[in-house]
C-alpha cells in the first residue's frame, strides 16, 4: 500500500513507563511497527496500552510517565531528538488524534466552530475570515448540513454523533499525514457509529493519510483496516493482514490470545451456549 520508500512512521521497541509511588507501571513494553499510507488497527483489551501508544507518538504522555524507544521516526525524521517545540508543531499538522468521547473532548465554553478554526490557525497563517471559511468547508466535509448554524453551537448543544464529526473536522482541518483514531466511536450508539466510521474512512482514503485505528473490537478492526496488531499487556502478540482474520484456513497460525479475542465475540450465525473466557498466559509477557 505504501507509496513512498520511507514509511510515514516507524516505531521500534517503544516503552512507556509510569513511575508511581507503588512501583513502575509498564504500560507499553517494547512495541515495534511501521505505518505507511494504510490503515493499521490496534486491538486489545482495556489497559493493554493502546491509548498510551498513540499518546507516546504525539509526545503527550502525562506525568509521571516516560517514553523510551530504540527508534521513533516520522518520515525518516527522528522524533526523539527533536526539540519539544518542533514536536508540538507536528501535532495536529502532521500527526493528529481523534479521541474517544466527544462529550468530554470538546471545550464546553467555546463554540465548536471556534475550536475548529483555532486548530487551523495554529498551523496556517490565516486571518479570522479565512479560518472561518476553511472551518465551514471542513464541517461540510464531515457532512454537517447547516455548517453556518453548527459553527455557533456549543458542545452541549450537539448530539454525540455530531460531536464526533466536529472532532474529526477539528483534527483533520490542518491536513495531517497520520491520524490516530482512539476508539473514535465507542461512545456512540450503533447506527451513528457506522455513519461516523464511514466519514472517517472516506476522508482518510481521499487524502491519502496513514491511519492508526485503535479499538477493542476485533471484528470492527478486521473489516475496517488493512493490517492488525493484537496487543496484550503492552506487547504486540502478533501482527497480521486483516484479511487473514476472516480466513478460516489461517486460524491455525493465529496466536492463542487472538483466538481468545475472536472467541469472546458471540456470533449470531453460530451461537454458543457459553462464551469462553479469555485465557492469559504470563509467558506471553516474558
Amino acid at each position: 500500500m505504501s507509496d513512498a520508500v520511507t514509511p510515514l512512521l516507524e516505531v521500534g521497541n517503544l516503552k512507556v513507563n509510569f513511575h508511581t509511588p507503588t512501583g513502575i507501571v509498564r504500560a507499553v513494553r517494547g512495541l515495534s511497527f511501521s505505518l505507511g499510507r494504510e490503515r493499521l488497527g490496534i486491538v486489545g483489551e482495556s489497559g493493554s496500552g493502546k491509548s498510551m501508544t498513540g499518546r507516546a507518538i504525539l509526545d503527550l504522555i502525562p506525568y509521571p510517565g516516560e517514553v523510551l524507544a530504540d527508534r521513533m521516526l516520522f518520515r525518516g525524521e527522528d522524533l526523539q531528538t527533536m526539540p519539544k517545540a518542533a514536536r508540538r508543531k507536528l501535532r495536529g499538522r502532521r500527526i493528529s488524534m481523534v479521541m474517544q468521547d466527544p462529550k468530554f473532548s470538546l471545550n464546553p465554553v467555546m463554540t465548536v466552530g471556534d475550536q475548529i478554526a483555532e486548530a487551523y490557525r495554529v498551523h496556517h497563517r490565516a486571518n479570522a475570515r479565512e479560518a472561518r471559511e476553511r472551518t465551514l468547508a471542513m464541517l461540510e466535509a464531515v457532512q454537517i448540513r447547516e455548517p453556518e448554524r453548527v459553527y455557533a453551537l456549543y458542545p452541549h448543544e450537539v448530539s454525540g454523533g455530531m460531536g464526533q464529526r466536529v472532532m474529526i473536522a477539528m483534527m483533520l482541518i490542518a491536513e495531517p499525514d497520520i491520524l490516530i483514531a482512539d476508539e473514535p466511536t465507542s461512545a456512540l450508539d450503533v447506527t451513528v457509529q457506522l455513519q461516523v466510521l464511514k466519514i472517517l474512512d472516506d476522508l482518510v482514503t481521499s487524502r491519502g493519510m496513514g491511519l492508526i485505528f485503535i479499538s477493542h473490537d476485533l471484528h470492527l478492526v478486521q473489516s475496517f483496516c488493512d493490517r492488525v496488531i493484537v496487543m496484550y499487556g503492552g506487547k504486540a502478540m502478533e501482527t497480521m493482514p486483516a484479511l487473514e482474520l476472516a480466513d478460516p484456513s489461517a486460524m491455525s497460525r493465529r496466536h492463542p490470545y487472538t483466538l481468545g479475542l475472536l472467541g469472546c465475540l458471540p456470533e449470531l450465525s453460530n451461537p454458543k451456549a457459553k462464551l469462553s473466557t479469555l485465557t492469559r498466559d504470563p509467558e506471553w509477557l516474558a
Binding site: 508540538r88 493528529s96 471545550n107 465554553v109 486548530a119 447547516e146 490542518a174
Partner: protein
Amino acid sequence: MARSSAPVTGPATVTSGPGPGRLARWGKMLSRELTTVAITMFGLLAITFLIARVIPIDPVLAVVGDNARPDVYEAARLALGLDKPLWQQFAIYVGKVFTGDLGTSILTAQPVISDIKRVFPATLELATLGTLVGITFGIPLGVLAAVKQGRWPDQLARFIGLFGYSIPIFWLGLMGLLLFYAKLGWVSGPGRISIAYQDFVTPVTGVILLDAAMQGEWDAFWNALSHLVLPSAVLGMFSLAYISRMTRSFMIAELQQQYVIAARVKGMSEARVIWRHALRNALVPLTTVIALSYANLLEGSVLTETIFAWPGLGRYITNGLLNADMNAVLGGTLVVGAIFIGVNLFADILGRIFDPRTR
C-alpha cells in the same frame, strides 16, 4: 476491500439550542433567585430587628433623654410604635427600611442613610482595589501552582494561602504601617488624603481617585494613591490568599479534562492550553469566588479602616458601636448584609452568563 463511497447523510440533530426556550429558562431562574434573595433579605431584617429589641438600651430614653417627664416619655413611646404587638412593629420597621429610613444617628445627628451614602464610597474604593490586587496576583499564582503542582510556585501559593488564613488583618495593617510608612517612608500614613490636599478635590463621586483625576488634580491624585496603597494591599493579601487557593483547585480539575488533551493534540502551545482553554473554564466557578471575596473585603474593611483611620462604612459601624449608636450600627449591618446578598446574586448570574451550558 470494497468500500462504497456514497455519502452518508446522517441527521444533524441538535439536542438543544438558542431560541424561545432560553428566555423561559432565564425567567424561571431569575424568579427562583429573586425568591431566595427575598427570603434572605427578610431574614436579615428579622435579625437586625430582633437585635434592636434585645438591646438593654431603652430606645425611648435615647430619644427623649434621661430626665423626661412621664407624659413626654409615654408620647414618645407611642410615637415610636412600641405599644403595638411585635409583628406590627416589625412591619413598620420593614416599611421604614424600604423607604430608606434607617433612623437617625446619635453621633452625627444625621439620618443614618445619608451618613452611609457619605462614607460608603471610601469603603467601595478600598474593597475594589483590594479585590483587584487579589485578582491580578491571585489568579496567575493559582494557575501556576496548579500547573507546577508540588514545585515552588505551588509551595508559594500554599504558604500565602496558609498565612492569609492565619494573620489577623488589623495586625498586618499595623505591621505594614510600621514598616512601609514609619521605617521606610514608601507610603503615606493613615487617612485617605493628606490635609494639605484635602481642599483641592471636591467630592463628586466620593471616590477620591476618580474625583481627583476628573478634576485634573494630579498631585492630589498621587497623594491619595499613596494613602490607598497600603490598606488595599493588606486587604488584597486576603483576597489573594482565597482567590489563589480556589484558582489552584479549579485549575487542577480542569487540567485533567479530556478537552485539554484535545487542545494539545491540535498543536496549541502550552500557554494557550492553560490560559485560554483551561482558565476560561475555571473562570465559571471563579466568578462566585471573586464575588465572595469582594463581599468579604467589605467586612474586612471594618478592621482595616480602624487601623488606617479610613473614613468608610467599617469605621462608621465601629464608631457607632463604641458610642452606643445603635441606629448607625444596625443600619450599617443592614447595608453590608444587603450588599452581600446582592453581590452573591450578581455572581450567580455572571457565572451563568460565562457558562454556555446554563446561559
